[in-house]
């Protein structure tokens, strides 16, 4: 009985998983499998990370990064979902644009950010721009693939009642693609965070996790600081994903009911 309830406790299970990883990395460090000089011990990092949580400057950095992240992600969804619908429903436009899009997709952030620096005089705008650029792809592609997965009979049903293509898009394609899009947004969320930090790292700036990492580079214990800061990036990832999951569960109850064993 207790065994069951333990397994049913999501946060606890997650904590056990994280603790397991922690022990593994610590062990690897202690046994010398991972040289602590090259990569700090897990316990050292945890200590640094805990200290950072009490560091007001660092918290301000986190808030600043989160601001850019949230704004960038929002804009990403607003841009990429309609774009995905446009491309997914207009094959001619899609095939015309495809060479250009596929050309743009593999441009790495290290090449992109310097160019963005030249184009934007405002740091925040620059960050948002690179976030939107990089995070849009998963949303775009998942939207396009989701559209392919819509049950044709559902579309025909609405068409038979005389609804036009836009209404079909809005009332059938959007809801049934939504779970697909949600996966794309979850992917985009972490890419957006990564880009926010990378942009701060490459461009510098007044505050942000990336800026913190730049400053940490001057420390004799730089590695510990840098890894501890990225730990917090990971924690942000966990928190944001938990929120996304909660929202998805509410919005897509119908999807779960149709697909998971109903019991």
């Amino acid at each position: 009985m207790t065994g069951r309830s333990l397994l049913d406790n999501r946060p606890l299970c997650g904590a056990v998983g994280v603790a397991g990883l922690f022990c593994l990395v610590e062990l690897a460090g202690r046994t010398g499998f991972i040289d602590p000089i090259v990569f700090p011990l897990a316990s050292t990092i945890a200590g640094r990370a805990a200290a950072l949580a009490a560091d007001g400057d660092f918290l301000a950095d986190v808030v600043s990064t989160l601001g850019a992240w949230a704004a960038g992600l929002l804009l990403t969804v607003l841009v990429a979902v309609p774009a995905g619908f446009a491309l997914g429903t207009m094959p001619r436009v899609e095939s015309a644009l495809r060479p250009v899009l596929e050309f743009l997709r593999p441009i790495p952030s290290v090449a992109l950010i310097p160019l963005a620096l030249l184009l934007f005089s405002d740091r925040f705008d620059m960050k948002i721009a690179v976030i939107v650029y990089a995070a849009s792809w998963p949303v775009l592609i998942n939207t396009m693939y989701g559209l392919k997965d819509v049950d044709p009979l559902a579309k025909e049903t609405l068409r038979s009642f005389g609804f036009g293509p836009l209404a079909v898009l809005w009332r059938v394609s959007l809801p049934s693609t939504a779970p697909f899009i949600a996966t794309g947004v979850r992917l985009a969320a972490s890419i957006a965070l990564i880009l926010a930090i990378s942009a701060e790292l490459l461009a510098g700036g007044a505050s942000g996790i990336g800026t913190f990492i730049i400053e940490a580079g001057s420390s004799p214990d730089a590695l510990e600081f840098i890894v501890a800061a990225t730990i917090w990036a990971g924690v942000i990832g966990i928190v944001s994903n938990t929120l996304f999951t909660l929202v998805e569960r509410r919005l897509f109850r119908w999807h779960l009911a149709r697909t998971e064993g109903a019991r």
């Binding site: 090449a111 998963p138 840098i226 697909t259």
Partner: protein, 262 residues
């Protein structure tokens, strides 16, 4: 005929090129050289070699195949691991309860920040670079495969239970095919991510590769060189993606046909 139609689909490319040329010539900005200047530099970097080697230069022969090799190794590895792990997580709620936080954690970490970790685990060079690529691109595959496996039509699963399908049958014949459309979305995303990660992995402690050339050009303030490398990446991305779509069309033909309406 098919070749002609294929070329016809590229009509937008010359339009964009001409517009770009015009815009950069008008702007006269050092950092935005016109495509013609980039082309000249690209020719110089990669195509000014001896004719018996198809005009490829040493730099081209040394850097492009090595990078593409790492890219494929990383992508294939990420594909195999990502699909396997994704299916497992998608079908086992208990496992995913334990591992989800770790995955969400890993996903949000910028891959460059983990370079020291990979440097510690692997020998510098190809091993470490492939590890970086895998780590950076596995998430779309993993997440999409997981979601696909989680959301198999209930009736399909019940059918396979009723007819007593073995575990492997259920996985290979039911879950995998119905997760395929999502998996392909993930694979396609990570293919171009792999190019990006290939570059990133070649920025630290490397001595060759397209990423190294990009770094070298950036460090030497060789702007046409930087742009030339970007163009190579873009062209590679386009070629790889086209090949991928062709493969997808074959493998997912049932899907396309089954979901077709006029």
């Amino acid at each position: 005929m098919r070749v002609l139609r294929g070329l016809g689909r590229l009509w937008l490319v010359p339009v964009v090129l001409v517009a770009w040329e015009a815009a950069t010539r008008a702007a006269e900005d050092n950092f935005f050289p016109p495509p013609t200047a980039i082309a000249v530099r690209m020719h110089e970097m990669w195509l000014s070699g001896p004719p018996e080697r198809l005009w490829l230069t040493d730099a081209a022969v040394e850097n492009i195949p090595t990078s593409v090799g790492r890219l494929f190794a990383g992508w294939l590895l990420a594909g195999v691991i990502g699909i396997a792990l994704g299916l497992m997580l998608g079908r086992s709620p208990v496992l995913s309860r334990f591992l989800d936080p770790i995955i969400e954690f890993g996903r949000a970490i910028p891959p460059p920040a983990l370079l020291p970790f990979f440097l510690a685990l692997f020998a510098a060079g190809a091993q470490m670079q492939i590890a970086t690529i895998v780590f950076g691109i596995i998430w779309p595959i993993l997440l999409n495969a997981g979601d696909g496996a989680r959301h198999v039509d209930r009736q399909h699963l019940e059918t396979s239970r009723v007819f007593g399908f073995s575990r492997s049958q259920r996985l290979l014949r039911v879950i995998l095919p119905s997760a395929m459309p999502k998996i392909f979305a993930g694979l396609r995303l990570s293919l171009s991510l792999a190019l990006i990660l290939m570059v990133i992995s070649e920025l630290v402690g490397s001595t060759n590769g397209i990423g190294f050339q990009l770094l070298d050009a950036q460090r030497s303030f060789d702007l046409p060189g930087v742009w030339g490398t970007i163009v190579v990446l873009g062209v590679l991305g386009y070629v790889l993606n086209s090949a991928f779509l062709a493969a997808e069309r074959r493998l997912l033909s049932w899907h396309r046909a089954a979901k077709q309406t006029i």
